[in-house]
Symmetry: D2
Subunit: 291 residues, 4 copies
């Protein structure tokens, strides 16, 4: 895997969305090729109903004829011509994560272990909690752990301190790993499209609190989990990934909670993986995941 | 399978539910054994929260010392003592089904094919529709097909004729295989616990009409289907079975409809199978499926 | 769906594989664009180990500046330059299928129903069997049904007659829907890459006969089915699709056979769908399915 | 969950297998009831082909009229009469586990975390490894960690020291969490039915070494994992649990290894859970898992 890591350094990802028109694919391919970039992966999607185009291009810069700035200027011309909204990410800058957690450790551990094994392509800069409980876990992995006690009174002031800290730490992505506090509109607008949460139900079923209790009461035969971007509409943000697990009449609420944990952590880790690989575009409150 | 079929003739199933108490299992086992019945399968469930007991016993009557009436009297004493609600079903009486359908054939075909192959332990007595469209399918399988045109004005009168027909045909179970009419309270109370519907969403998500359109708009990553008993609370009846299939941003509403069909037919067929095998008890608007 | 059908007429699919080199994506996109073709979908894959490139491009010919022949000549130049092996398919020519079947109807019905509902993008030209049993099914769907009795003695002569018939009927794809005869090398080489079979196990487990019996004996907790291209190495051809279903100690061989049917028919139908949509490339006895 | 824990102390589980005969269920139920034991759960299975009966009974001893010894004597009479092979386990004695591991941490972590959260009903007495690598993990959880370097020469002597240690620690169950050494016949016969391994393929596919490499070469569309009892026939022991995950042509061997990890840990944890709950009986090299 060492080779892979090294060879990754010269990679870049371009995410594009724009109104669908003829010649988009060709224009981008030609521009990249013209500058000596080598396209390694390309996935596209056209939403025919919305007449909208989406593309992810992974390319290698090793044999670039020009420099990055010139390439960016070249791409800029194309994106302007086609009214594209784009995101260009160089792989040599690893992404930095902040994990927010309360008292439950399962999602936190999953992300810590996947980061250590190299599955998650990012670095965990900090773990933030409203409780002391999980500090030992952070210590095991040598990650900084900060506790911010939140009350109705101090909330906006605390969030401001958190944001200052995240900025200092150059955080790209906030992941709520079963964090039991609601983030304010202000916080979310500062990290728009960069806060991922795991909700312990198969949304839009069982919105709100205690979804496993709700699921038990309704007698469903599958329970699920949903990873989504957090927006100011609680539990209504764009869905990134979902999965379910089979249950039966024999499962108590406690059993649902236990079974659900394993779905939650897998679904959240999958969503974070895609985010770190720059595979997700959002349009009309839905995600396009370009795998 | 011939042997199996023959050997089934002497079987009976006892379904029991009652408040949980000590000695239930022993009392039933002893009574059955005492009359010479041989217990082949026994599954039980205790809902500890509701303090309620559920059991399904499949037994062989071949070596009964007494006759069925005496056995029933013996069981009657036990069930009275423990305040049991019971259902005793002899396997030599095959169940009779009525399938209600509108214009979509996929669920109908699944049940017809599974009945013909012997997977479904019942006979289809009639197919009832509000449209002529699927008459050729019924004819292929040699099943009677009756059309009842329903309008707001004639609804109660038509339902009465339907009920008369179902009674004449000695129907035990009504299955709505994508039937696009709402049955009245009167109809449902006459067939309480004996009308199964397939809803084309993962309930309680996307209650009501056009669930695939709703699912598409919400951008979910899995779609599902739910088989449930029909009650007068639309889409709120006890859930028997559910399953899901993975979707993505690339799926149009049409794709969801196509994918969903295959889940719908499997889920409905599974629910009908359990019903015909007398495996389902309902309590507190939930099902206990004793497999 | 009418619109969709109409709009499909002007579509074409290009399947490409070649040694991986720089500039491939750009060259093809540019050539298509240069002739006025509009790229609707494009999926590619690079096998880094084998240094091999694979791509599927779906494009619209409606606004072609030139004619098809000129376009083909243009593409020909590119494919030669990059040593590409290509397949160009115009959507206005619907594919024609021959289904080979013995006595079991479940896979046959699945393909018949999916064809009728428009899910499968092809026409069933004929059903060929070594038994009379399923003729009524063919008649229900108005499909020609021919019986060829096969013995050790007449096999090569019968296969020749079958091949003549398939040629007369202009058949593109042969699907073995639980066909219990082994096709000869000669037959297979005439229909190389165009014969799909469903094997009732999760290959490579339980190769050969009676896989459900083998699975039962081994006590596996999942059974599966595998759709694959048929080659002269029995059960060793390139795998197109697989799926599994959960089983338990409580399942008899008969139960496995029943459960397996539903997996078999789904897996086979999925593989045939991809084949009809020109999504599959074969390399090194494996399939690349470009979805 | 505190209540649950307390209430568990008075529970016992009886596992039974014997030739199938009339009156078995009744005899056991009556005996337990006669001594004042309250049956909470009862699951049974009859293998009709092998004419063999299997049952698991969970019962509460709180209101026992007699003492445990008298109950055991009572049960002994029944088990002798029906030639039963039985296992009676009292819940107040928590099971003790030894985890054997080499260098990969994912399965080890899963069991450590599930034990800490109370999901696994046992205590980890020791972690044994042939490498130093994972000592820090053991330390994080406060578990003793012993390294035994194994060579061809010292193997039998080392295994003897391991067995002595396991005996001192009163270990009930050995779990191989990706342990890369083969245990000798002697070791296995000392812990017959008490050594569980996770094999990283969907057995019996890809027996032996490097199953993910084998799977990649064969081009399968699902990969899996298998938890099984270890016997002296390598990879041939009774299968306890299996699961799979979808793969595609786009997955390299490294991707398969990464994806597989998550299946491995879930499957192994599930098998260990059932073992600790005394739900597994082995017959004819297959498992009966009484859920």
């Amino acid at each position: 895997m060492g080779d892979k890591e090294d060879s990754k350094k010269n990679l870049a990802t371009l995410l594009v969305t724009c109104p669908d028109r003829k010649g988009l694919v060709s224009a981008l391919a030609q521009t990249l090729h013209g500058h000596g970039a080598n396209i390694l992966e390309s996935v596209q999607h056209v939403d025919r109903h919305a007449q909208r185009f989406f593309q992810r291009i992974l390319f290698d810069l090793t044999e670039l004829h020009t420099d990055r700035l010139t390439l960016e200027r070249g791409l800029g011309e194309v994106t302007e011509r086609f009214e594209m909204s784009t995101r260009l990410v160089y792989a040599n800058k690893r992404k930095r994560l902040a994990l927010f957690v309360s008292k439950q450790e399962h999602c936190l551990y999953e992300l810590l272990l996947r980061t250590r094994s190299g599955e998650l392509n990012g670095d965990i800069a900090i773990i933030i909690s409203n409780h002391e409980d999980l500090r030992p876990v952070a210590e095991q992995f040598g990650i900084r752990y900060e506790v911010f006690s939140i009350t109705a009174e101090n909330k906006s002031e605390v969030e401001e301190r958190e944001r200052t800290l995240l900025e200092e730490l150059d955080v790209d992505l906030v992941v709520l790993t079963r964090y039991m506090q609601i983030l304010s509109k202000e916080f979310l607008s500062a990290y728009s499209g960069a806060v991922i949460n795991i909700h312990h139900s198969f949304l839009p079923a069982f919105i709100g609190g205690k979804p496993y209790h709700q699921a038990h009461r309704r007698g469903v035969k599958l329970i699920g989990a949903t990873a989504h971007y957090v927006t100011s509409d609680l539990d209504e943000g764009p869905i990134i990934e979902q999965d379910v697990i089979r249950t039966s009449h024999a499962d108590s609420v406690g059993d649902l909670i236990r079974k659900g944990r394993h779905v939650e952590k897998q679904v959240l880790a999958q969503a974070v993986t895609w985010q770190l690989e720059d595979r997700i575009l959002v349009y009309d409150n839905r995600t396009v995941v370009l795998k």
